[in-house]
């Protein structure tokens, strides 16, 4: 009884201590950047560089998490729907302007406060060095001569570079389906497929193919930029070759709507200083990194960025809502063909299994379960209660974590669970008081995993 009161008081006290910090200036807690693309990719690298310099500039830990999947839907959504307190920054990319036109999400560029865009890379059409096509006109002639037999890749169906390529085909007066698009997970596997001889050309951004270009393994027939790109001077733009088509992929940062204006200003100012090269650590700066990796470091902020987003949204919407694109979205294999095939196979196997198990009586209990035999007959209902209790713990965690916060909720649930399984309340409390802060320290501080934050910010 005494121990219990002590425990409750200590919990309350520790949470009060943590609560105190809330009033101080922004930022005083770790900041999370939500990157919609996987580790190692271009967007991930740019986000991690930004986090690195932001950490130095703001003096608070900045961590990147990768919320991947759904061709960017998940990450964009997670970043833009986060708590609007300035501690979660959404990494946004080109797809923000396309996903909602494809009905994959309801979120648009209007559902966030844009901070800054830090990079604009134009798409280019790449062929192997030994390809017979020397100019885009050669390519167009070949496509006209053999419609539907050439293959290209660069992204998934409907991804950035697929749109870029389809738009170029349109500008050349060709059907958007005149070249078969082989959907691939990204530029890296597409270029690899190109090198293996599996496809004829790749459409992806300049830095994504830079190392192959530098080594002379790939050639670009044209780049979809407004003007010649520094570092790639020998690649002619589409306009120079009489195709009226420009497509530029970009990366930027945003915060959820409702974020206090003063915090937006703090973040925007810090990022502006970083991208303009004012923040230098150990002779390293953000623009230097971008140059090194071949990323174009054109940046836009505030109104300019917003206007850029609106313009992009409009032009991409026109392409995505056109009839030409509707036919493009239909692949050679329907979305439910493969699952159906597997489903049939599975039902066949299940029927076979049922038939066989009827014929052969398998022993009901294995050595694995021998541990359980004694208890099984004794008390099935208490087994079920125990299992339901365990499930309930996880459900409670899922429901309450974002409101109560990690430390308090975990401590509470752990004590309850330990006690339910027969640990004395005092020992349960001791275990909890030692273990929970330890886990918190391990994950949140050492491993920098953002844990759920609640009322007390922890």
């Amino acid at each position: 009884m005494n121990m219990r009161t002590l425990f409750v008081w200590s919990l309350l006290f520790s949470s009060l201590l943590m609560g105190c910090e809330r009033q101080e200036a922004f930022p005083n807690r770790p900041i999370t950047l939500v990157c919609p693309w996987s580790p190692g990719g271009g967007t991930d690298q740019v986000s991690r560089q930004m986090a690195y310099f932001l950490e130095a500039e703001l003096g608070t830990p900045c961590t990147v998490i990768n919320a991947t999947g759904g061709q960017g839907v998940t990450g964009h959504r997670r970043g833009m729907m986060a708590r609007p307190d300035g501690y979660t920054i959404a990494v946004i990319t080109f797809e923000l302007n396309t996903l909602h036109h494809q009905s994959l999400t309801t979120l648009t560029y209007e559902d966030m406060i844009p901070l800054i865009s830090v990079n604009e890379d134009a798409a280019a059409i790449w062929v192997p060095a030994d390809s017979p096509w020397q100019t885009l006109d050669d390519l167009v002639a070949d496509i006209k001569a053999n419609p539907g037999s050439l293959t290209a890749s660069g992204t998934a169906t409907g991804g950035a570079w697929h749109l870029a390529f389809a738009g170029w085909l349109q500008s050349a007066g060709l059907e958007t389906t005149a070249v078969k698009w082989i959907p691939k997970g990204g530029a890296d596997p597409s270029v690899q497929e190109l090198m293996s001889g599996g496809i004829d050309l790749v459409c992806c951004s300049l830095p994504e193919a830079k190392q192959y270009y530098d080594r002379g393994e790939l050639r670009a027939l044209g780049v979809m930029a407004e003007e010649t790109v520094p570092g790639f001077e020998d690649i002619k733009t589409m306009r120079e070759q009489n195709f009226d088509w420009v497509l530029v992929g970009w990366r930027g940062f945003a915060v959820p709507p409702g974020t206090p204006q003063d915090r937006v200003d703090v973040l925007r100012t810090a990022m502006q200083k970083i991208v303009s090269g004012e923040v230098v650590i150990d002779d390293k700066s953000f623009p230097k990194f971008m140059d090194q990796r071949g990323f174009n470091n054109r940046w836009r902020t505030s109104d300019d960025f917003h206007e850029f987003l609106a313009r992009n949204d409009q032009s991409l919407g026109k392409l995505l809502n056109s009839d030409a694109f509707a036919s493009l979205a239909e692949g050679a294999v329907g979305p439910y063909d493969f699952p159906m095939l597997l489903g049939l196979l599975l039902s066949g196997l299940v029927i076979a299994q049922v038939v066989i198990s009827r014929r052969i009586q398998t022993p009901a209990i294995t050595d694995q379960e021998s541990l359980e035999t004694s208890t099984q007959s004794e008390n099935v209902s208490s087994s079920i209660i125990n299992v339901l209790f365990g499930l309930g713990m996880v459900l409670l965690y899922i429901l309450l974590a974002e409101t109560v916060g990690f430390l308090v909720l975990t401590a509470g649930l752990l004590v309850m669970f330990l006690w339910k399984l027969g640990t004395k309340l005092t020992s349960a409390a001791v275990i909890t008081i030692i273990l929970v802060p330890l886990v918190y320290y391990l994950f949140a501080v050492i491993l920098r995993v953002p844990l759920p934050r609640g009322w007390w910010g922890v």
Partner: protein, 509 residues
């Protein structure tokens, strides 16, 4: 001369200290389910800016090598695979622990991890440029057969019944198809949920299938009585004495008894590791399958076979070095760790590519990489030994304390991967699924592999059909034809042997 400089570089205080710290860090990260080597490497990237080139590389090498071994610790002690590649032999490792031989199991996987790692380094050293040419041959047709081959292996080897294995595998593949795939423009089975568009995340599902289902099983078993017992009480066995010298001699006798099998596992691991997109997990499964197929005692597999454990551990570690082959020679990442590695190298003004082997100023660095691999793998021996000794205490903790704590780590581990409570819900769902599958004696390993590779299998299938609607095209390239025939052979063998023996019960081997 370059060799000497490289040797001095690696054996400098800075590099050795980096290796030590990364080793300890990797041991923690790897043994907590949900935390991956990729995450650990991404985390130390900012630190590498301050390190010398060779220390930065050594840090990444050490982290991956240590992580993949330490994933075996929870696999053996708790039946929760720390990494997906441990899922191939989870039943064997756990069965050995039930026999009270957890130290044997772990030291086998430790020593063969080191063997695999060193062998992979040797291959990297001897013929990286030549092998990279082979890796470059892989297009969508080859990938389709490779994935099919890996998946079939899982169904064949796991559990008592191939039929149940195949069912479990298909369940896994079907779950992997949830959401928006890279080859379709319409999300499937998402039921209007924007979270489900991204599909079922693999790590939370893995933790659920093994970790949560294990907790649920423990809770079920403890139903009737006060859960005071520890695992060691329950099993009524004492852990045996275990010393460093014994461990080494155990390993030597095992290698000398099965030199060719070990060589096969290591080569297979390196070859699979160097194919971008295929990694330690497929390597471990394939090696385990070959091992079982060629074994004189296949009935032991899945019930505590040290041979299977050794072969699969050797393969998954050697695949790590394999992944560096295309990364260094072609600049193509073999897996997500090498993708980050290439970023780090470029930050340091080192451009991976064929030139890296010919330019004189780079040669020192290349030697440095080889030596780092060797040092990191050798360092794994004492570190792993300490890890094994230290983790043994888990067996002495009463279950009533252990179960809630495991559940806590499962939750945090699932959340950690992308800070999403939805992932915790996925973990819970798969926990229940795993619990029921186990009760009806379906193997869990194939579900995991199906989840991991199912979407890739479908993607390559659709890509192939987009290129050419004919199924014959699947055999149109030489390498694809070889892989395809191997795969058909594996599929048809049970049917053929069934036809020959004319027994309807053959599926219940």
């Amino acid at each position: 001369m370059e060799l000497q400089t490289a040797l001095l570089d690696v054996l400098s205080l800075e590099t050795l200290l980096t290796i030590l710290l990364c080793g300890v860090f990797g041991l923690f990260v790897g043994s907590i389910p949900g935390l991956t080597a990729t995450m650990a490497v991404a985390l130390i990237v900012p630190v590498t800016f301050y390190l010398s080139d060779i220390s930065a590389i050594a840090a990444i090498v050490t982290l991956t090598a240590v992580c993949i071994f330490s994933g075996d610790i929870p696999t053996t002690l708790l039946r929760i695979p720390g990494t997906p590649s441990s899922a191939a032999y989870v039943d064997d490792a756990y069965a050995l622990r039930q026999q009270g031989r957890y130290a044997d199991a772990l030291s086998t996987s430790l020593m063969f991890s080191v063997t695999g790692g060193l062998f992979g380094t040797l291959i990297l050293f001897l013929c990286a440029p030549q092998l990279a040419v082979l890796a470059r041959q892989f297009g969508t047709y080859e990938y389709f057969w490779l994935y099919a081959l890996g998946l079939s292996c899982a169904a064949i080897v796991s559990g008592d019944s191939r039929l149940k294995g195949a069912i479990a595998l298909l369940v896994g593949i079907l779950f992997s198809l949830v959401g928006l795939s890279e080859v379709h423009s319409e999300p499937r089975f998402a039921f209007g949920s924007e979270e489900l568009i991204s599909g079922v995340h693999f790590i939370p599902a893995l933790i659920g299938l093994f970790g949560v289902s294990e907790v649920l099983r423990g809770l079920w078993a403890s139903g009737g009585k006060d859960a005071v017992t520890t695992y060691s009480d329950l099993l009524n066995v004492q852990q045996e004495g275990f010393s460093f010298a014994q461990q080494i001699s155990h390993w030597l006798s095992r290698i000398s008894r099965r030199p060719w099998q070990t060589l096969r596992s290591c080569s297979l691991g390196t070859l699979i590791g160097m194919i971008p997109g295929a990694g330690a997990d497929i390597a471990a499964w394939m090696s385990y399958t070959f091992s079982k197929r060629s074994s004189s005692t296949p009935e032991e597999y899945g019930k505590g076979s040290e041979d299977g454990l050794a072969d699969a551990s050797a393969a998954n570690n050697s695949s790590l070095a394999g992944a560096w082959i295309p990364a260094l020679v072609l600049g193509i990442p073999g897996d997500s760790v090498t993708a980050i590695l290439i970023g780090v190298l470029m930050m340091k003004n080192i451009n991976p590519g064929p030139d890296i082997f010919t330019q004189p100023e780079q040669v020192t660095l290349i030697y440095g990489i080889y030596i780092s691999f060797i040092v990191a793998n050798l360092f794994l021996i004492p570190l792993g030994y300490v890890g094994i000794r230290a983790s043994g205490f888990i067996l002495k903790v009463p279950q009533r304390v252990l179960l809630p704590v495991i559940l806590l780590f499962c939750i945090v581990g699932s959340y950690a991967i992308s800070s999403s409570l939805f992932d915790v819900a996925v973990m819970l769902f798969f926990g229940l699924l795993g619990f029921f599958l186990e009760r009806y004696r379906y193997p869990l390993g194939p579900v995991v592999l199906g989840l991991l590779l199912g979407a890739d299998l479908e993607a390559s299938f659709v890509q192939n059909l987009t290129k050419d609607r004919s199924l014959l095209a699947f055999f149109s390239r030489p390498l694809a034809a070889v892989l395809g025939i191997a795969c058909l052979f594996i599929w048809l063998t049970p049917a053929l042997s069934a036809a020959l023996r004319k027994k309807p019960t053959v599926l219940e081997e």
